[in-house]
Every structure is written in C-alpha cells, then in structure tokens.
C-alpha cells in the first residue's frame, strides 16, 4: 500500500525542533553556514584561514570554488618519476579516476574505499595511517601523483625502499623514531581490521603483547624507541620479513 510510505512523515518530529529543513529534508546547516561565511569574508578581520573549512562543504557550496578537478601531470613525466610502464599507469589511472572523478582523494573517500576490502572489521584507523603515509605533502588530499609515487615505491622499489616506506608509515609524527605508543596505535588498528569474529578470539592484551615482541626484536639498544637504522637492520636479519617483502613484486 502506498499509504504506508507516508507513515514515516507523520511520525517524524524532526521538523519541530528545527534540525532539518521541511522543504528539502537537508539539515539547515550548510546554507546558513555558507551565508555566514560569506558574510564573514566581507569583514576585514577574517583572513584567508577561514577558507579551507569552506571548501570541505564542497557539495553544498556550489557558488564557492568547490568543484576541484585535479589533473595529473603527463604520462611521460609520471613514467620518469615512477617505475611503472605506460600501460600500467594507464590502468592505474583508469581505476583511480573511476572511484575519484575529481582527481583527488580525501581522507573520507580513502577510508571508504579501503573499508570495502575489509568488510568484517573496522579499517578506518589503518586507512588514516595509510592516508597520511601517501599524502607526502600533508595537504589533506592524495592526488594521482602521490598515489602512484607511493605505489611505485612499494611495488617496484628495492627492499630497502620498501622498508623505508614502512617505517614512514609507522612513524606517525614523522620524527624519525617509532615509540611504543605509536606502535601500539598501529597494532590496534591492524587488529581492528580483523573484526570481532576471529579464531582464537581476540583478547584485549593481544596488541600490547605483539608490540612488546616487536620491540624486543627491533630495539637493539633497548632505549624504548626504534630508529630507522635499527628497523632496517633488524628487518634485514629476519628471513620472514625479507621473504614477505618480495611478495610485492607481482602485485601489478
């Protein structure tokens, strides 16, 4: 019965407390916010730092500079900068552009794409770390060049390059060494991706224990942090890690 679809509209009390616009059904926020910001921009006291927040509401603010369309550099330049062949770059770009028509990935998008590969668990934290690792210039978005540069290191770089890249991933604050807290965050994010239904069941202390064993292996001078040299040295001594690094040779 078509009448039943209307039951929701009668039982909604959202229209009474002003949290959504009766006409369009959207929260009344963005239009009001846009007007307010446009007003604020007219005032001399508000400088350009107000602008970045504007561009985040890119869906509603059509009258702002929103539709950012980023085009990558030419194929030849990318071929020089990365170790991919022309065809590989073409395939990569087609996939990239399909998912992100505007040419850049922001963190939300990135997390969403990555979460589709891990349906059971929560991969958002790890995706954030990845995003920060790919976003080399820290501007909050990953363009195709960043993307392909990162992939080039992982898939076509030497073992040392790859280890470097992994270290960069682990070092959350980019200060050149991995502390136990950073490692714990990383470990928790990896375990989060497993989700709830694992065998054997995940215990609370599992990440911490794993971190302890990692530090035992990696931290040579037992100073509580792992530097890049310690990291690379310990990894080169570990056969498993070396072998697993070779897995990336055949991904594309």
């Amino acid at each position: 019965m078509r009448g039943q679809g209307r039951k929701e509209s009668l039982s909604d009390s959202r229209d009474l407390d002003g949290s959504y616009d009766q006409l369009t059904g959207h929260p009344p926020g963005p239009t009001k916010k846009a007007l307010k910001q446009r007003f604020l921009k007219l005032l001399p006291c508000c400088g350009p730092q107000a602008l970045p927040s504007v561009s985040e509401n890119s869906v509603e603010d059509e009258f702002e500079l929103s539709t950012v369309c980023h085009r990558p550099e030419g194929l030849e330049q990318l071929q020089e900068q990365t170790k991919f062949t022309r065809k590989e770059l073409q395939v990569l770009y087609r996939g990239f552009k399909n998912e992100c028509p505007s040419g850049i990935v922001n963190e939300e998008n990135f997390k969403q794409i990555y979460s589709q590969f891990f349906p059971q668990g929560d991969s958002s934290t790890y995706a954030t770390f990845l995003f920060n690792a790919f976003d080399t210039n820290h501007d909050g978005s990953v363009s195709f060049e960043d993307f392909v540069a990162g992939l080039s290191v992982i898939l076509r770089g030497t073992i040392d390059d790859r280890l470097n890249w992994a270290f960069n991933l682990y070092d959350l604050n980019k200060d050149g060494c991995i502390t136990k807290e950073e490692m714990l965050d990383i470990m928790k994010s990896i375990y989060d991706m497993m989700g709830k239904y694992t065998y054997p069941a995940l215990r609370e202390e599992a990440p911490r224990e794993h971190v302890e064993s990692f530090f035992q292996k990696m931290d040579r001078n037992k100073d509580g942090v792992v530097t890049i040299e310690e990291f690379i040295e310990s990894c080169q001594k570990d056969e498993n890690i070396m072998r697993s690094m070779k897995l990336f040779d055949n991904v594309i």
């Binding site: 898939l155 890249w165 990896i190 890690i241 690094m245 990336f248």
Partner: protein, 636 residues
C-alpha cells in the same frame, strides 16, 4: 565488493606492506597470475549497435553472462566480436552496470522486458541502485497484481471437475455468476435485505389515527404484519448464514470475518427479543438492541462493489483518518477552553462548562452553525471566528488524501474489469490466428493427399500444388504427419470432433463425470467437462458454442466466426486436434468408441444439453489445447 573498487585491489595489496614487519609468521604465497595478458578491448555487437569495453571491466562480475566464459558461446569468429541478438537499449544499462557498479532502471522501459533482459544476462534485479529501486519495485508490484488478477479471474472460470459439494457451494456464494442458482440466491437475499431495511424504516412512520387514541406508528398498528415480515427476513438471513458457515473452507476464519459479524449482529436482536419476555426492566435494553437491526443494510456490501471499495479505502486510510481525528480533537479542546473563559463573564451564557463548549466548537469548526450556542462577548466573537476559519482548514487537509486513495483503488478495480473484458476479445483474435495455423496443416494435408493421388496418376500437375508453403511450414507439417503415423490417429478440427463426440455419446454411457479425463495439469478442461459446464451457463447469455470458458454475463463477444473453417475433412474418426504437436508428453485420445459418421455441416453445438462424456480408458488425453492458458500465435 563494489566493482569499481576492484580496480583498487593492487593498492590494497600494496598497503599490506604495513603488516609485514610486524608479522611473526611467514606470509602465504601470493596467487600467480597465470595468463597475465594485457587488458584488451572487447567488441560487443548487440543487434547491430557496437559497444566496446575492456575485458577486465566485464570480468568484475564473474557470475554473470558477460563476465564468465558463457559469452564465448556468442563469439562470432568471422567478425571477431560477441554478437547478441537482444535489445540494445537495455544492454546500455547492463553495460553501465559493469562500468559503474550501479544498475539503473530506465523508466520508459517495460518492466517485463527489462526483467527478461536481466535474466538473460544473469544479473539479479536486486542489485538495482537506490535511485531507481523504488520505481522498479512499484512497477513490478503493479505487474504482479495484474498477473494475479488475471490468474484469479481465470481460476474462477476454469471448472475443476473434482469440486466437492461444499466447495461448489462456497464458490457459488462468493461468485454469483458461476451458476443460475447462485444468482437467484444472490438476488433473493438482496431483495430481502431491502425489504427488511424498509420495514424497519416504515415501522416508525405515524400511520393514521385509530379513533379514540393518539397517533400510532405503523409498527404498533399493524404489529402482527410487521412481526411476520421480520420473522421471514430473519429466517432467510439465518438460513443464509448457516449455509455460508457450512460451505466455508475455513470456518474459524469465516466466523472472524467482517461480513459474518455483520450477519450475526443483524439477526441476533430478533432471537434475543424472542427469548426475552416483556419484562419492563430489560425492555429498555431491548429497544437498544432493535437499533442493531439497521446493520442489515451493511449486508448490501456483498452486493455492491463500490461499497466494498469504500470500506477498503477507509481501512487503508486509517492513518489519515486518525490524524484528522487527532488534530480535530486538539483544536476542539483548545477552542472550547478559550471560548469558555472568554464567555465566562457574560450573563446567562450558555457556555456553562468546557465540555458544554465542545458542542459549540464542533458545530462551528464544521461550519454547521446551528445557532443554539452563540458567543456574546467581543472576545468570544473574535475567538469564535478564528475557530470557524481554522475548522475549514483542518478538515480540508486530510480529506483530499482519502479521496485520492479512494479514486486510485476504484480506478484500479475499473481497470481490472476492463482488462478482463478486453482479454476475451484479445484471446478471441489470438485464437483465430491459431486456428489459422492449424487449419493450414489440415489444408496442406488435403493438398498432400491430392499430391499423392496425382503422383500415383503420374501427372505433371503436381508441380503447382504444394509449393506455396514455406520450408518451415512444410517441415512442421511433416512433423505433425509423423505424429499421426506414430499414433495411428489423425488430426481433425474441432467442429468434426464435437459432432463425433455428440454422436458417440448418444449411444452409450450414463452421465457420469469422469474426473480422470484430464490429468495434465496445464490443460484443465476436457471437451466433455466443457459440455458439463455448458449446462450451467446463464440462459440469458448468448454464448455461442465455443471454447470460451467464461461464463460472465457480460460477454458479448461472438467467437463464432473463428469456429467455422471452410474445410471439412473426409476422415471423421474420433480424434482430438492438437494445435502444437511439439508437446512431447501429449498423446492423442484413446477414445475407443470410434464412430464413423458422415460429416454434417458444422453447426453450433446446441446449448444446454447435457452430454455425458464418453469414458476414456486412458488417462492421458490430449485436450484441445485451445483450452489451455498457453497462447501460441506462431505456427511453430
């Protein structure tokens, strides 16, 4: 996993680099890419329109036709492309599904055509994206309702020879057009309902004075007459109720249904009145009970479709009605309070309390304005006018919703009836086409005989005899001919068969219905059960002797033209005709009472004659497939 994201799988695998250094165990081996071919363009030729896409795009969904090796069946070696003889418009949507991961439903497309295409390409319709899903579901539901409607009406028209007495009775009650008796019963009960209601009404009319006393209502003046009438009506209603109760397939459900409750409420007061004596204490309650007699008028809803639709509408608009009531109540309370306090000051005000003001508010809001309560103070008048204005608004808002609902349901019903009427005409036309094809076979058989005769005689005139048929037709006819030879029976047309049936039945067998005649589920009528059905059709309809199974009064279609092929065959053994010899499990009839008779000119089968079916030893009879629901227009 969405298709578009499949392109990001290399990235996801690369991102696993973060796990390697922390892993304690060795990693599993990676799957080898066996045929690492470069991505290539595939050309898909759909009815001439060429689509091109990457092979990997199609391989995103390996469990569909295009994504699996099934498409190799459609590969055309000469042109090196995949050719599909299907609709290119729908293919556009299908291919977009592979590209974007979202399946859209174009609104201009017919729902069953679209479903067929999806089924062909192996795509589940559930994947349709949210943007188009609602539209798709709505159209699908309408289509399903239409199909169900058609099925229902057909089921009503088929005769199931093995109905028990109880089931026939129930069908007669539910559908009065199925038999004369049911129709008579229907009208009789309708008449008595009307009589009963009118009696109730007339009972209270003052009837003229008896000298010496005051004016009496008719009910008391002619109390005996009215009592007799009432008794008669209640008798009829009771009998009807008991019969329905007996015939109902599920008595428990019947008792709980609305109509049966109305029936019970209509007849209960009478019995209660019989049981109770003229006790002064209870006679007050007794009078109240008599009010329930007016519920008999609701029994008319069995007789009127419009009334049923109204009831159904009210039921389906329950939420709107509830809203209307609720908002009215709110408004009434508010305005009654306001008016009460506004009029409190004025002397001799009728607004003695808030509940007393309710009456004023209701009368004002519905713009009735009796005038028995009127505000006298200025504040009262101001608020009174606001009250009447708001009343108009509050009532006018939900009413169009109810009206539009009623209109939609009513039109749906109209459309259903119209479809049923149209369907008969359509089926008739289709039948003409079909008999055309079967007649073609018989025609060509005759010509074939002539051919053989001529060949025997050795004349060259055989050339211009049988060459008018196409290759397909001649192959089909050959096939039917082979079937005839296999079973040693021959095809004839229906006219002949009916005559033969008639003649054979004159001779023998008491009339028993043999329900074993049709064991074939798809073909549910035998020629002979058809006869039995004919006995019960309406006297005032002008149905010709046709295969038309509908017994609707409203049928005015004469199919007669199609039933008089101009040819007569020279053979007249008792055979059944099969319109398509391609059904592997059909055998021709094994009716053994073979009567050779000279074919009389085709005549309409006389109506109303009850002909017993000839007993058939074999359970598998090939029924004239005209009775089936399968309508085949092509010759094959």
């Amino acid at each position: 996993m969405a298709a578009g994201v499949a392109a990001w799988l290399p990235f996801a695998r690369a991102a696993a680099i973060g796990w390697m250094p922390v892993a304690n165990c060795p990693m599993p081996l990676a799957p080898a890419d066996k045929n690492k071919r470069q991505d290539e363009l595939i050309v898909l030729n759909v009815s001439g329109r060429r689509f091109q896409t990457w092979r990997t795009t199609l391989e995103r969904y390996p469990d569909t036709l295009l994504g699996s090796t099934e498409k190799e069946f459609f590969f055309n070696e000469d042109t090196k492309e995949y050719f599909f003889d299907r609709d290119p418009e729908v293919f556009r949507c299908v291919l977009n599904f592979y590209r974007t991961g979202k399946l859209h439903y174009p609104r201009y497309e017919c729902i069953s055509a679209y479903d067929d295409e999806l089924a062909f390409y192996g795509i589940l319709p559930e994947i349709i994206g949210d943007c188009c899903y609602e539209e798709y579901k709505d159209r699908k539901r309408e289509n399903a309702e239409r199909l169900m409607d058609d099925n229902d009406s057909e089921n009503n028209q088929e005769s199931m020879p093995s109905l028990s007495f109880r089931q026939t009775m129930w069908r007669a009650f539910e559908n009065p057009h199925t038999s004369t008796l049911a129709l008579v019963f229907y009208y009789v009960t309708g008449f008595f309902i009307a009589v009963s209601v009118i009696t109730n009404v007339v009972e209270t009319v003052p009837c003229g004075t008896v000298p010496g006393s005051k004016e009496l209502p008719c009910g008391e003046r002619y109390s005996v007459a009215f009592f007799c009438l009432d008794t008669a009506c209640v008798m009829i209603f009771t009998v009807e109720y008991l019969l329905r109760l007996f015939a109902a397939p599920s008595r428990y459900r019947f008792i709980r249904s609305v109509m049966s409750i109305i029936d019970v409420v209509a007849i209960m007061p009478y019995y209660i009145g019989l049981v109770m004596t003229n006790n002064e204490d209870v006679s007050g309650a007794f009078v109240t009970l008599r009010v329930f007699r007016v519920f008999r008028i609701f029994k008319f809803s069995r007789h009127s479709q419009g009334l049923r639709i109204l009831g159904y509408t009210l039921k389906s608009c329950a939420s709107e009605l509830g809203f209307l009531l609720f908002s009215l109540t709110m408004a009434i309370i508010i305005f009654a309070t306001v008016m009460f306090y506004a009029e409190k000051g004025s002397s001799a005000s009728k607004f003695t309390s808030i509940p007393a003001s309710f009456w004023y508010t209701i009368v004002t809001m519905t713009t009735l304005g009796y005038g028995d309560m009127v505000p006298k103070t200025i504040a009262g008048k101001i608020f009174g006018s606001i009250c009447s204005l708001s009343g108009v608004l509050v009532i006018a808002l939900p009413v169009p919703v109810i009206v539009s609902n009623f209109s939609r349901i009513y039109h749906q019903n109209q459309r259903a009836d119209k479809r049923r009427a149209q369907k008969k005409a359509r089926l008739a036309r289709i039948r003409v086409a079909k008999t055309g094809s079967s007649n073609a076979y018989l025609h060509s058989k005759r010509n074939g005989l002539l051919n053989e005769a001529l060949e025997l005689m050795g004349t060259p005139e055989e050339e211009h005899m049988g060459k008018s048929t196409s290759l397909i037709e001649s192959q089909h006819h050959h096939l039917l001919h082979c079937l005839e030879k296999t079973t040693n029976h021959e095809f004839i047309d229906e006219q002949m068969f009916e005559q033969n049936c008639m003649e054979s039945s004159m001779q023998n067998y008491p009339s028993t219905r043999s329900p074993s005649l049709s064991s074939h589920p798809g073909l549910t009528t035998t020629c002979c059960s058809r006869r039995n059905k004919k006995t019960t059709h309406l006297p005032n309809s002008n149905l010709p002797a046709t295969r038309l199974r509908s017994m609707q009064e409203l049928s005015t279609i004469h199919i007669q033209g199609s039933e008089q092929p101009s040819l007569t065959t020279s053979r007249s053994s008792l055979n059944l005709k099969a319109d398509d010899g391609l059904r592997p499990n059909c055998k021709t009839s094994q009716i053994t009472t073979a009567i050779i008779s000279i074919p009389t000119p085709p005549a309409l089968t006389p109506e109303g004659e009850s002909r017993p079916p000839p007993a058939s030893p074999g359970p598998n009879t090939n029924i004239p497939s005209v009775a089936s629901n399968v309508v085949k227009v092509s010759a094959l």
